[in-house]
């Protein structure tokens, strides 16, 4: 790490830079950041915000939104608002987990293909094509059938189904970076191959991955709710948004609120993640102007 003597002048310059950068962050990104912050709080400590998601109160069953029950109650009289709050943890965990699995698989496969010779590259790419040929749902179904349909299994299933796009992107990035001017310059400095890879190739190749991951998060969350809708999703004790959507579909016309709010929760979370992801992409590509 480089040591910069924190002389006041240099510090002033950096602070100004930071202030300038914060000021021009567009409003929607700020809103999205706030939404995500709230989501994290709710995931960590749902108790702060909501009551018990499982307490049944049949007398209050199927009541519309009211002050006492912000999002109304479901057919067992449970408070939908608390269920959405408590549902945040499994849903967002699912989204993050699945994306992590996809990213990990994608990076491994992508780097291997990117660095191996022509033959290795072709073989690995054909393997990714094979998984890509199967529709993600089929892959997810098979993995669930093999592992069973607990939360972790669904998470792995969705993760595995979305490995190919990440693998392809990482491979393309690695190829691009290996042929770039600055790697050639680094070779010109006589850096050893290992140093070159760690210092230049990996950071630049994996940078854009962050952006794709935010989009991937959205897709995983949507897929998880679709699987729950098809009756294959998770069945944790605490409610998960996808399962709530699935349970609400019979009350569409009579008790619209049971389904509306979990649906809104899914959409809001995914929109927030995408907005933040796209802003990161703008600042990231803005900086590299590849």
């Amino acid at each position: 790490m480089r040591t910069v003597d924190a002389s006041p002048r240099v510090l002033a310059v950096r602070a100004a830079g930071a202030r300038r950068r914060l000021a021009d962050v567009p409003v929607p990104v700020l809103v999205a950041a706030v939404v995500l912050a709230v989501a994290v709080v709710v995931v960590l400590a749902p108790g702060l915000v909501a009551g018990s998601p499982t307490r049944t109160d049949p007398v209050q069953a199927l009541r519309g939104p009211s002050w006492k029950h912000l999002f109304g109650t479901d057919q067992l009289g449970r408070d939908t608002f608390s269920r959405v709050a408590y549902g945040a943890r499994p849903s967002l965990l699912l989204g993050c987990g699945a994306t992590a699995v996809s990213v990990a698989g994608g990076v491994l496969l992508g780097l291997a293909a990117g660095f191996s010779g022509r033959v290795g590259d072709q073989v690995l790419m054909r393997v990714t094509d094979m998984v890509l040929a199967l529709p993600p749902l089929l892959v997810a179904l098979v993995v669930i059938a093999v592992l069973g349909s607990g939360t972790v299994n669904v998470l792995v299933a969705i993760g595995v189904a979305f490995v190919p796009p990440y693998a392809r992107m990482v491979r393309a990035e690695v190829m691009l970076v290996r042929r770039s001017g600055y790697v050639e310059a680094a070779v010109g400095l006589g850096l050893r191959r290992r140093v070159l890879v760690v210092r230049h190739v990996l950071p630049n190749a994996l940078g854009p991955l962050l952006v794709l991951a935010t989009v991937g998060f959205g897709t995983s969350l949507i897929y998880a709710s679709s699987l729950s809708f098809l009756g294959l999703g998770t069945r944790p004790p605490a409610p998960e948004w996808g399962a709530m959507l699935s349970e609400s579909r019979d009350f569409l016309s009579s008790a619209w609120w049971i389904g509306l709010f979990p649906g809104l929760a899914v959409t809001t979370a995914v929109v927030a993640i995408n907005v933040v992801g796209r802003h990161l992409q703008a600042t990231f590509t803005g900086r590299t102007r590849r």
């Binding site: 049949p58 057919q75 009756g231």
Partner: protein
């Protein structure tokens, strides 16, 4: 006369209906559409939507009840069982039962023809029964209805004798179901392999012809003009009133109800309880229902494992769940709460059990304390010697129906209040079946319908474990119950049956070998112009007598 039961005799296996419920005529339940209307009018077509689609249309193979529901209109049976359970002549004008119940001789009606022109005679009966038990048919249910079948003997073209290796009381009831209906011999000979795909190859003698089948969408049946051999006790004789009967498969509840409301279908099967009030309120629609008979939706504690070996804990579960309130909220008051393992309409139902084990949380807590589960851990659950009172109740997400998962969550919450933790691992079909066979569970929920009290033997006889094809999920072992159920199975004498079956129901409740929850009811929503829609003993709608009021 005692019936000896030999080890290898195949136990009578009852169809576990995905949605079917049988009922006998006694109290409530059955109601017929629009009695007050005038004379039936022939003509017009009707669209009926169900929520499940037959995987296999071959009545001699498929275990599904929706297959029987549809094929009932295409295939006739030897005898007809009315809503009270009495048997009347159909394709068989008369029949004699051997005193030792080992053989039945049927005298067939003459002039009955299959829709492809071939005659219905004794030979056809023999060919069909042979097809049912043939290895290549790989029957998944019909073969079990024939039980200890040894052969069919054609005495003359209108007389046929069916014999069994030992006394077989339930044969008449089995012979009245569509599963033992008759394919035309020509169809069996030429298209045996294609019967499961449905369509015109399914040639029978019934009031409707199987015109076409579009997978995932609908089955179309058209009137059989030559039909003249309706069973005695049916609404009318001669051809069916309807020109055409279309059965549409609408899996999604809201879609099916929506289609009924918007008039795109005439009758909606499996009307969800949540929508019943709305349909009743709609003047252009009517609600018809019939409560199920046979096994109610019950929860079976595994009496051989863990904390549930202690009867006090099982008793605590029985009275620790607020069944009345849960059933009323989840099913909007449409289903009745069950007091006995069998439905009220089942012959030999024991009405005395009503109210004998009401919801009593205090008593449940007392029982659990007596059983030594006195400690409480952070989660508010009871502990004994450091171990938490936790019960494993597996669930298969893809097979859940009728909001049973939500009911389960309500039950989970009730038991949480008295300190009992319920864990509901979600398994796929494969692992679930392994769990059933190996008894790797503390609680299991099951419901199966049959217009026959013998289901009690299947559920509580010590030999009826899942491995032997039985349904004894609680591994209940009580010599008296064994004796009573065997006696019941071997006699037609109703007074004897009522006595033994009543005692059996009483005993299993007392020893908390079962927690009855609710009696399912088959509810149908229909347009007001649909007339004379009735249900048979299996609570499946009958379309032969149905007609459309032109107004």
């Amino acid at each position: 006369m005692r019936f000896t039961r030999t080890r290898h005799r195949l136990l009578l296996l009852v169809v576990v209906a995905l949605t079917a419920f049988a009922a006998c005529g006694s109290s409530g339940g059955g109601s017929t559409a629009g009695q007050a209307s005038g004379r039936p009018v022939s003509g017009g077509s009707l669209t009926f939507a169900t929520d499940t689609e037959p995987i296999n249309f071959d009545i001699h193979v498929s275990p599904q009840d929706v297959t029987a529901l549809i094929q009932r209109n295409v295939f006739d049976s030897l005898v007809y069982q009315d809503s009270k359970g009495a048997f009347h002549p159909w394709l068989a004008e008369s029949w004699e039962t051997a005193p030792d119940l080992r053989s039945y001789t049927f005298h067939l009606r003459t002039g009955v023809r299959f829709s492809d022109g071939t005659a219905f005679d004794a030979e056809a009966v023999k060919l069909n029964f042979e097809h049912v038990v043939a290895k290549t048919t790989k029957s998944q249910f019909a073969a079990s209805l024939l039980g200890p079948y040894t052969g069919t003997e054609v005495i003359d073209p209108t007389t046929v004798k069916v014999s069994f290796s030992q006394p077989f009381a339930p044969f008449l009831q089995a012979a009245s179901t569509a599963y033992l209906g008759f394919y035309s011999p020509k169809a069996l000979a030429e298209n045996a392999g294609k019967l499961s795909a449905g369509g015109p190859v399914d040639v029978g003698t019934g009031p409707f012809l199987f015109s076409s089948y579009t997978k995932g969408q609908s089955v179309v049946l058209t009137r059989n003009p030559a039909y003249a051999w309706a069973p005695k006790g049916a609404g009318h004789s001669g051809p069916a009133y309807l020109d055409r009967l279309t059965i549409r498969f609408l899996r999604e509840n809201s879609v099916r109800v929506g289609a009924l409301n918007s008039g795109q279908i005439d009758v909606a099967g499996s009307l969800p309880p949540a929508n019943v009030k709305a349909v009743e309120a709609n003047r252009s629609l009517q609600v018809l229902r019939r409560d199920a008979s046979g096994g109610n939706y019950n929860i079976y504690p595994n009496t051989t494992r863990g904390p549930l070996t202690d009867e006090r804990v099982r008793k605590a579960l029985q009275q620790g769940i607020n069944i009345d309130q849960n059933v009323r909220t989840v099913y909007f008051g449409q289903y009745k709460r069950a007091w006995s393992p069998v439905g009220a309409l089942t012959p030999s139902y024991n009405p005395a059990l009503v109210g004998t084990w009401p919801y009593d949380a205090a008593k449940a807590n007392r029982l659990l304390d007596e059983a030594g589960w006195t400690g409480r851990d952070a989660g508010g659950y009871r502990t004994k010697d450091g171990k938490r009172l936790s019960l494993r109740w597996p669930i298969v997400p893809s097979l859940v129906r009728e909001q049973r998962d939500i009911l389960g969550q309500a039950i989970q919450e009730d038991l949480h209040k008295i300190g009992v933790e319920i864990v509901r691992p979600s398994l796929d079909a494969g692992t679930y079946i392994d769990a059933i066979y190996s008894g790797d569970y503390d609680l299991l929920d099951l419901s199966w319908a049959r217009f026959e009290p013998d289901v009690l033997r299947l559920a509580f006889h010590s030999k009826s474990t899942a491995a032997n094809g039985g349904q004894n999920a609680s591994y209940f072992n009580d010599p008296d119950v064994d004796r009573w159920t065997v006696t019941g199975e071997g006699t037609f004498d109703t007074s004897v049956r009522n006595d033994v079956y009543a005692k059996t129901q009483q005993r299993v409740i007392e020893r908390a070998a079962v927690i009855p929850v609710y009696t399912p009811s088959y509810i149908v929503g229909a347009a007001s112009y649909v007339r004379d829609l009735t249900f048979d003993t299996n609570a499946w709608p009958r379309f032969y007598d149905v007609w459309r009021d032109k107004k």
